[in-house]
Every structure is written in C-alpha cells, then in structure tokens.
C-alpha cells in the first residue's frame, strides 16, 4: 500500500472509531474542531521544519505529489487521524474511569 492509501484508510478508520466504535462523537462537537484549529497550524509549522531541512524525506512513488507547507498532503490525513484517535481514546477512557 502507498502512503496515500494508508493515510486515507487511517482517516476513515479514525472517523469510524470516533462515531461508531467508542461513540465519543467528537466530530460533532465544537471542542474537537476548536482544538484541531489550534493544532493544525502547529502541524504545518513542524511539517515545514522537518521537510525544509530534509530531516524527513518522502519517496515520490508513494505519494500523489501535492504538498502543503513542504510535506505531502497525505500528512494532513495522518495528523488528523492521530489527533482524532488520541482524543477519542482520551474521552472514552476518561468516561470509563469516571464511572467507577
């Protein structure tokens, strides 16, 4: 699988995870989108840092080639799924621990 394929799959899985598996439904909440709006520009800054200094290099055969702030566009999907999955887990685990 290419980076593009895995990135799309991971985003779909994170969305499914939030809405239907742990049912935290963060995607329907202002708290998530506000937090994401803060994190997203930070991701662009770090992506630019890591790619402009050639700390991380991507294989052109595995990406579609469109870039944002130096990094492949796929990286936006990667970041989105990491953030959504993490926050969903945090809320899900928190709810379970609070119930005890």
């Amino acid at each position: 699988m290419s980076y593009s394929n895995i990135a799309v799959t991971s985003m779909l899985f994170a969305v499914f995870f939030d809405l239907f598996i742990v049912r935290t439904q963060l995607l329907t909440k202002s708290i998530f989108w506000t937090s994401y709006a803060i994190i997203f520009p930070m991701q662009l800054i770090t992506n630019w840092w890591l790619t402009s200094r050639y700390i991380v290099m991507y294989n052109p055969n595995t990406i579609i080639g469109r870039r944002l702030a130096g990094a492949p566009i796929e990286d936006i999907l990667f970041g989105f799924s990491l953030i959504l999955a993490t926050m969903s887990m945090w809320v899900y685990i928190g709810k379970r621990l609070n119930r005890k």
Partner: protein
C-alpha cells in the same frame, strides 16, 4: 521539533491547570494503544521506504523495527500535546460538552 511541541503545549499544564500529566493512568491507557497502531504503520512505511530520515540530523538511536528513537517519542509527545490542547480549550470554554462528564 519535539522540543517545539513540548514548549508549545506543556505550559497549559501550569497556566490553565489542565492536569493531563497528573492523570497518568488515563493518559497511558489513551496513548499507548494508538501509538502501537501508528508505530506499526511507521515500521511498515520505513521498511517499504515510504519515508526516510537524515541520519546526520538524528540522535542515532534506533529501536525495534528500525524505528528511530525520535519517532517513538513523537508518538508519545504529540498525543500528549493534542490532549493538553483539548483540555486547554475545555478550561476556557467550560460549557462545551466533551463527552466524559460525570
């Protein structure tokens, strides 16, 4: 990059008293399963040469599955920063539902 992320988010722990680091059990249970999945992806991507790292700009410590130490730290620090951001927003917007309220 990791230092930037730490500086950019961990001040919330003090300034807004988000208390993320204090809830260590909840933090570990949230972060570790996600990190495991993403590190598997990282291992696959490294072995299939989706991405590579400049070894001159690395600490030089490489862990299991040829994953550099920085990548392991990335999948711990970035999720903590994301959770601190969420909790920081909650402190400012106390009436917004999150979903874990008692």
């Amino acid at each position: 990059m990791l230092a930037f992320t730490v500086v950019g988010s961990f001040w919330l722990e003090i300034a807004l008293k988000v208390g993320v680091l204090r809830r260590i059990k909840r933090l570990a249970l949230s972060i570790l399963p996600v990190a495991l999945v993403f590190l598997s992806w990282d291992a696959y991507a490294i072995s299939h040469r989706h991405w590579q790292f400049d070894e001159h700009q690395m600490l030089g410590v490489v862990g299991p599955f040829h994953i550099p130490l920085e990548e392991y730290l990335f999948f711990i620090i970035v999720p903590i920063a994301a959770i601190m951001t969420l909790e920081g927003v909650r402190q400012v917007k106390k009436h917004w539902p999150v979903g874990d309220e008692l």
